[in-house]
Structures are given as structure tokens and as C-alpha cells.
């Protein structure tokens, strides 16, 4: 039996704070998964087990919920996660070309990670920046008004 890897004290403090916001442990699951993702890099089985243990939930329940949502990572990801919107509004403004650019420059395919582990690319379904598309979120930062040149300039800042 693998012992669930315990959370760091910082995460535990966060989790305890989260737990207070909800009347049930189950309801704290989604925010807790973010904490685990931050700490473990992605939601590998140990991370899911640690969350289950902390909230007193069945492991399967945690896994089943986690895999429903696309913002949780179920694979190892690169150091920086790019979410490039390719939904209709951004698409008609050229987001498809940008996907191509990322492929050529960084070897990134949707759902994949660049060989150097620097970037992972997720194709996003509208990130609410349609007014300034094409747009992407890198980690937690929103970048808008992208074109083939600007996207590379922006990404230069992520190592």
C-alpha cells in the first residue's frame, strides 16, 4: 500500500481554510483538487488519495469527480500551461493559425507537452476574451489580441 503523500504545511493551511467554507467535506473537493494539483504537479493517484484522505472521501469518488473537469491535469504537464482559445469568435480571428505557430516553433500539439517540458498546450473552449481575440491563458495570465508575432513575444516571458 502506498502511503498517501502528505500535504505540505502550506497546503494543509489552505485546505483547512477551504474546508471552512462548506458544510460538507465533499463540497470542498474541487478547491482541494486545485491545491493538490499545485502541490503534486498533476493529479496523479497519490494526489487523489491524499485529497480523499484529507476530506474523508472514497478515493473513487475523488477520481470520478476530478476526471469530469478539463482544468484538472491528469497527466504530467509542462512548466507552463497554455490554454489557447480556438472557439468560434477567436477562430474567425485567426486562432487556428496560432495553433500552427505553436506547433512549428515549440513542437506543441493540442493536449501535448513540448519536448523540453517548457510548455503544455490545451485547446480551450472560449475563455471569455472574445472581445479581444484571439486570446490565451498562460498559467493564470490572460493574453489577448494575439497574432503570430505577438504570441511568440508573450511566450518568451515564460521559461
Amino acid at each position: 500500500m502506498t502511503e498517501p503523500q502528505p500535504f505540505s504545511p502550506k497546503s494543509v493551511a489552505l485546505l483547512e481554510e477551504i474546508r471552512k467554507k462548506y458544510p460538507t467535506g465533499r463540497a470542498a473537493l474541487m478547491p482541494a483538487l486545485y491545491v493538490a494539483q499545485e502541490e503534486f504537479g498533476w493529479l496523479r493517484p497519490e494526489a487523489l488519495k491524499a485529497v480523499a484522505e484529507f476530506l474523508g472521501l472514497p478515493e473513487m469518488t475523488v477520481r470520478s469527480t476530478a476526471t469530469f473537469y478539463s482544468m484538472y491535469r491528469h497527466r504530467k504537464a509542462g512548466r507552463n500551461v497554455i490554454r489557447l482559445c480556438t472557439n468560434v469568435s477567436c477562430m474567425v480571428l485567426g486562432a487556428g493559425t496560432l495553433k500552427g505557430v505553436l506547433g512549428n516553433v515549440y513542437g506543441l500539439a493540442p493536449g501535448g507537452t513540448s519536448p523540453d517540458g517548457r510548455f503544455s498546450l490545451e485547446v480551450a473552449d472560449c475563455i471569455g476574451a472574445c472581445g479581444k481575440g484571439p486570446a490565451m491563458i498562460v498559467n493564470d495570465d490572460l493574453h489577448t489580441g494575439l497574432d503570430a508575432k505577438k504570441i511568440l513575444e508573450v511566450l518568451e516571458n515564460y521559461k
Partner: protein
């Protein structure tokens, strides 16, 4: 025209918000009996801005008549409908109007706790909301004793995790409870059995943000704005091929043409309009000859589409509609929750057919097959997501059948002309 939603950027700061009349609506509400507040909202004629346009006052009455407690107010800030970014703009510019609206709802519906279900793609807005919450608590607008009334109301922000279906209110509730965000059976409705089985009001960000104005200025004044059947201001996020994309706060019923050509500055680079989606991606597309339609729930429906989130997506003459249709169905396939058969299997099937048409592998009968599959989905799904997918797809075929036929016959004209890469 009064702008009370986006008004001015300075409202982000609580002092500025107060100067502009902020939290007076809440103050007034707290002087009234909860039932009176519900009555006032009913009188205002406010209709939900989350998509369905259901009369808010009526929904509130349903909850008000259920005695169970504890009770919850949930703000639907999942804003997943592609093309929609109005709730984001509202939170960016005026977070307190939402908090005040929620506090009013809390008082009216005797709830002590509210959650804002914010979509994961909005981390910045989370920061804005957390900061505003801190301010509002410090000033006593939220907390154990709201404005000295002895009433308790507080709000937590809950981040979604990337699932469009969680905008549907029962899926949202399941998600908030830490479950897979799949729609629940109705009845019971959330107003009777929502979060943890307790009465729960789920309202859209924009809906809730209308409340401070209604309380401050009175239901009658509010009812006088815009279209009498659906009064008030509406936020219209405009995107696509327009000169000035952005969110416009306009009276309900403003004609689509005015939104596109006056407020958003017309089609980009002086091109011609080819098609417009009037209410987010689930709303069937409209043709250029339909844009005199007033943008309210009733008129847009009459035009064969729906107002939905009010998200206007504009396409110029050089847009490949098949491509747009394909991307739309890719979206629905990706977001189908998987609970019911027609949506889970049907959206993928539609996508597959569109894909082969778009890549010049389509063949005769494909258009009829598309229509057939759409008809088999529509009306038979568990929740409106599947219907949305089918009616969006049918909309494209209805207005652009020729273009589909041409694709099957000779491939995509736009790819050929512009040397665009195939998707």
C-alpha cells in the same frame, strides 16, 4: 440612457461605488420585509439574464414559499457560453454591484450564505471578487450583521474547473457539492431542493446585478426601461468581425443592427455581413436580412433563434460557415456531460459528419443525415445542452444549405481562395 451595470470603471473601488449610490439599494431592502422585496422584484418585471429569460420575481416567489432552511443564494458566474464575456466585464468593472445584488437576494430569500460559482478561466476576476468581498465585509455590508440589521449574509467564491455544463443550474449545484457536474432531475427544482437539498436560488451575475438599481430606484422606474415585456438594461457582448468588439450596456430590445453597426462600429475592414449569432453559440445563426430584430427574449425567438446570453457573434462575408458549424459541434461534443444517450452519442456523430464535409470527404445524403441526427437529438435530451447543439447545427444548415452542398461537391471555397490551412 442610464448605465447602472458597467457605468464607470472607478466603481471597482468600494468608496467610489458608494459615492455612486452603491449599497443604498441594500439599505432600502433591509428596511423592508423579505416578502416585500420579493414583491418589488416581481413588480420590476426583471427576467433572468442567464439565458432562459425566466421572470426572476416568479422564481423568487417559489423559493420564498418553501420554509426549509438553511437556504442559499448562488450566483451563476460560470459564463461558459462561447462568445459571452459580459459577466466577466461586469465583475471587472463593477464587482460591488454583484455583491450588493446577492446581499439583497439573501435578505429577500432569507439565506445566510451565498456562493459565486466562477468559471476557472477567470482567475483574475477571482482576485477582484475576493478583494471586493474583503472591502464589503470590512464595511459591514456582508458578514454577521449586515448594515446593522442583525441579519447575517456572507459570500464565498467557488472556482469551477472547466465544464460548460456546469452553467446549467442543477449541474452547477452538483458541481458545487463536489460532484461530477451533471444535470439533476427536475422536479424538484433548486428553489425547493438545491444545494444539500435546501432551497437555493441560482441567478446569473447580470440578473443579480440588476437588483441594486431596482431597490434603489424602485421597480416602476426599472420597468420603464427598455422593452415592457422584458425591461431593464442588457449587456451585449459583441465579438467576431466588428470594428469595436466589446460589451455594450443597452436597453433590452435594442435592434441587432444598431448593436452591430452603431455601437460595435460595423463590420471590420468594411466588409459585408454574412451571418450573426445573436445569443451565444447555442443560438441558431441569423442571416443578414434578419438583423432588424429587436434584441429581447420574445423577438429573437420569433426570428427563429434565441436571445440566450445576448452574445452577438458577427461573421463577415469571407467566413466559412461549415467551418464555424464544425467548431461549434466540436465544442458541444467536448462539453456533453455524457449523461444522456442522444447528446453523448449524437453530438459526436454530428461533428464527424461535419468534419468529413469540411475536409471534402462528404457525400450526397450527408446534409439530410445531419438534419436527421439533429432531429433525433432535439427534444429527446435530458437537458437543454443537447437541444442547443442540434438547433445550432440546424440553424447553419437552414440559412447556408448551399454552402454545405458546395463543400460536398467541390470543397471549401474559402480555403482555396485564401490558401488557408485545413482545420
Amino acid at each position: 440612457m442610464t448605465s447602472y451595470l458597467l457605468d464607470v470603471a472607478r466603481n471597482r473601488n468600494i468608496e467610489e461605488y458608494e459615492k455612486a449610490g452603491g449599497y443604498q439599494g441594500l439599505g432600502k431592502a433591509l428596511f423592508m420585509e423579505p416578502g416585500q422585496v420579493v414583491e418589488e422584484v416581481k413588480k420590476s418585471g426583471l427576467r433572468g439574464r442567464g439565458g432562459a429569460g425566466f421572470p426572476t420575481g416568479m422564481k423568487w416567489m417559489f423559493m420564498a414559499s418553501d420554509p426549509k432552511s438553511p437556504r442559499y443564494i448562488v450566483c451563476n458566474a460560470d459564463e461558459g457560453e462561447p462568445g459571452t464575456f459580459k459577466d466577466k466585464a461586469l465583475i471587472d468593472k463593477n464587482p460591488h454591484v454583484l455583491l450588493e445584488g446577492m446581499a439583497i437576494a439573501g435578505h429577500a430569500l432569507m439565506a445566510g450564505l451565498g456562493y459565486i460559482y466562477l468559471r476557472a478561466e477567470y482567475p483574475e476576476e477571482r482576485g477582484i471578487l475576493e478583494a471586493a468581498l474583503k472591502e464589503a465585509r470590512a464595511k459591514g455590508y456582508l458578514g454577521e450583521n449586515v448594515m446593522g440589521s442583525g441579519k447575517k449574509f456572507d459570500i464565498h467564491v467557488h472556482m469551477g474547473a472547466g465544464a460548460y455544463i456546469c452553467g446549467e443550474e442543477t449541474a452547477l449545484i452538483d458541481s458545487l457539492e463536489g460532484k461530477r457536474g451533471q444535470p439533476r432531475l427536475k422536479p424538484p427544482f433548486p428553489v425547493n431542493s438545491g444545494l444539500w437539498g435546501m432551497p437555493t436560488m441560482v441567478n446569473n451575475v447580470e440578473t443579480l446585478s440588476n437588483l441594486p438599481f431596482i431597490m434603489r430606484e424602485g421597480a416602476l422606474r426599472y420597468a420603464g426601461i427598455g422593452d415592457p415585456s422584458c425591461p431593464g438594461n442588457k449587456l451585449f457582448p459583441v465579438s467576431g468581425h466588428v470594428e469595436r468588439p466589446g460589451v455594450y450596456e443597452l436597453p433590452m430590445g435594442t435592434p441587432l443592427r444598431e448593436i452591430i453597426y452603431e455601437h460595435a462600429g460595423g463590420i471590420k475592414n468594411g466588409k459585408a455581413l454574412k451571418a450573426v449569432i445573436p445569443g451565444g453559440i447555442s443560438a441558431p445563426v441569423l442571416a443578414p436580412d434578419q438583423i432588424d430584430c429587436p434584441m429581447d427574449f420574445v423577438s429573437v425567438q420569433k426570428a427563429g433563434s434565441m436571445l440566450g446570453s445576448g452574445a452577438v457573434m458577427v461573421f463577415d462575408e469571407d467566413t466559412c460557415i461549415v467551418r464555424v458549424a464544425l467548431r461549434t459541434l466540436e465544442f458541444f461534443e467536448h462539453e456533453s456531460c455524457g449523461k444522456c444517450t442522444p447528446c453523448r452519442e449524437g453530438t459526436g456523430w454530428l461533428k464527424a459528419i461535419l468534419e468529413r464535409i469540411e475536409t471534402k470527404q462528404g457525400h450526397g445524403g450527408d446534409i439530410q443525415l445531419l438534419e436527421d441526427v439533429c432531429r433525433n437529438i432535439a427534444g429527446n435530451t435530458f437537458c437543454p445542452l443537447g437541444d442547443g447543439a442540434a438547433s445550432a447545427a440546424l440553424g447553419f444548415i437552414r440559412h447556408f444549405r448551399e454552402e454545405f452542398t458546395e463543400h460536398i461537391r467541390s470543397g471549401c471555397r474559402y480555403h482555396r481562395e485564401q490558401g488557408q490551412a485545413q482545420p
